[in-house]
Symmetry: C2
Subunit: 235 residues, 2 copies
DNA sequence: CCAAAAGTGTTCCGAATACACCCATGC
DNA sequence: GCATGGGTGTATTCGGAACACTTTTGG
């Protein structure tokens, strides 16, 4: 293992793509995420992912959870490392960004703000403003990962409250995937996984009441990678 | 984006899990990887993944390819980022390791050595020595990723020379997955993907000659992630 | 009663599997 | 010829997709 002799100027930042499902009204929900307006150069005035420098004594995942809480006031229902970005020219100074992606529950994201609400705003994932650095590409990749992972895991439940109907869950899938799913087949597929417990409660509304379900287990919504013991607790 | 005021002591290392298929003789091939004996503390004398400090002016992928060449003298036929490890206690000093995994072709790995052949040795992936830091866990994760990715991509071809028989390819799959595959069904599945071009050459040997194939395209063997333009060239 | 969502039943189709069988070569 | 791996054919099974149909509520 060779080692460069000089103590060089590489710094480590941690950023997070924070996703939620936002319902504007009676409309179909949409994916939304918070961005932070930069107040210094480079890219002063542009919007960027929430993040910050990695602190000497915190793990990468802890840094992601910390900056997430600072900008939104929320704890994530799902948090996973996305990728480490380290191109030489992605910033004027040399910065390695370890990026995480997180899911937060819908209701919590309404009105909840962190330490600096002035410079935080939520955007529709399909209608983003101009972004600093390579953050547009990073968000694209996070959305790709979400759409991909929803196909073989239960991550979508990270958007939902503890009790929800199958229609709620299907609506989350439909929003993520961008297409309609057959209610009948969707029902069979989810209960083939045996991960939902039916409750005795029903949501009464406009038509026939729908049964409420909750998570069957306290296991992870999805495989989050090679996590060390210190990183396995998200709450 | 808040910034810690002190220039702190976090350093960035890049390591690589380098995998190949090794044929000991007429036996079934096995997964093998090179390790480097550490000559300094911490963990002096223990075996570790090839790697080194990230240089100021090179991208993460370039650092991985560089250390790979330094220890094995080889260029990878496949290279993908694995994960960024950043637990506080994984090393006495604070080190963030961005780990890559690579595939190299079998024949090339025989006898090829890099700048310091004394301290490099190849090990059977199922029979590893005591490893420094969290490298045992990292290798486990790399193997998991390989086994997983072989199911939905063409990565296994990264182990093979430009021309190969379907039996060669199937043998690679069988070694990676650790189980036998039906030759008939395997044949149909690979040519359903339309990614192999049959040549007019045959490998003559002990029995009926087997047709040689080569890659149909110059496209990637698998999705390697959100690569920037500077990282897309591996050769 | 009617509209609409909740929930069930059934058919169809394609992919994965198992396995019988033929082909071409070395010995 | 015969052993062995190369290569083809075919029946079965399983899961997903499509969609007809029944149930239960609000109005």
């Amino acid at each position: 293992m060779t080692r460069s002799e000089h103590e060089d100027g590489i710094r480590v930042a941690v950023s997070t793509v924070i996703l939620t499902l936002r319902r504007d009204g009676g409309q179909a929900p949409r994916l939304a995420l918070p961005l932070v307006r930069r107040t210094r150069d480079p890219h002063a005035g542009a919007w960027a992912l929430p993040g910050g420098w990695l602190d000497d004594a915190e793990s990468l995942a802890a840094a992601a959870a910390r900056t997430l809480a600072e900008t939104t006031g929320l704890a994530p229902s799902y948090l996973e490392q996305l990728y480490a970005f380290g191109a030489v020219d992605r910033s004027p100074s040399r910065v390695i960004s370890v990026v995480y992606w997180a899911l937060v529950r819908e209701e919590e994201s309404v009105g909840a703000v962190g330490s600096d609400p002035e410079n935080v705003a939520w955007f529709d994932a399909e209608d983003l403003p101009g972004l600093a650095f390579d953050h547009a590409r990073i968000i694209e990749y996070a959305l790709w990962r979400l759409r991909n992972k929803v196909g073989y895991s239960r991550v979508a439940q990270g958007f939902l409250p503890p009790e929800f109907t199958l229609a709620d869950l299907r609506e989350a899938y439909e929003t993520i995937l961008g297409r309609r799913l057959d209610p009948a087949n969707f029902r069979r597929q989810v209960d083939a996984t045996r991960t939902l417990i039916p409750t005795n409660a029903f949501r009464t509304g406009s038509h026939r009441p729908a049964r409420l379900y909750r998570d069957a287990t306290d296991v992870e919504l999805a495989d989050r990678g090679p996590l060390s013991p210190e990183e396995t607790r998200t709450s």
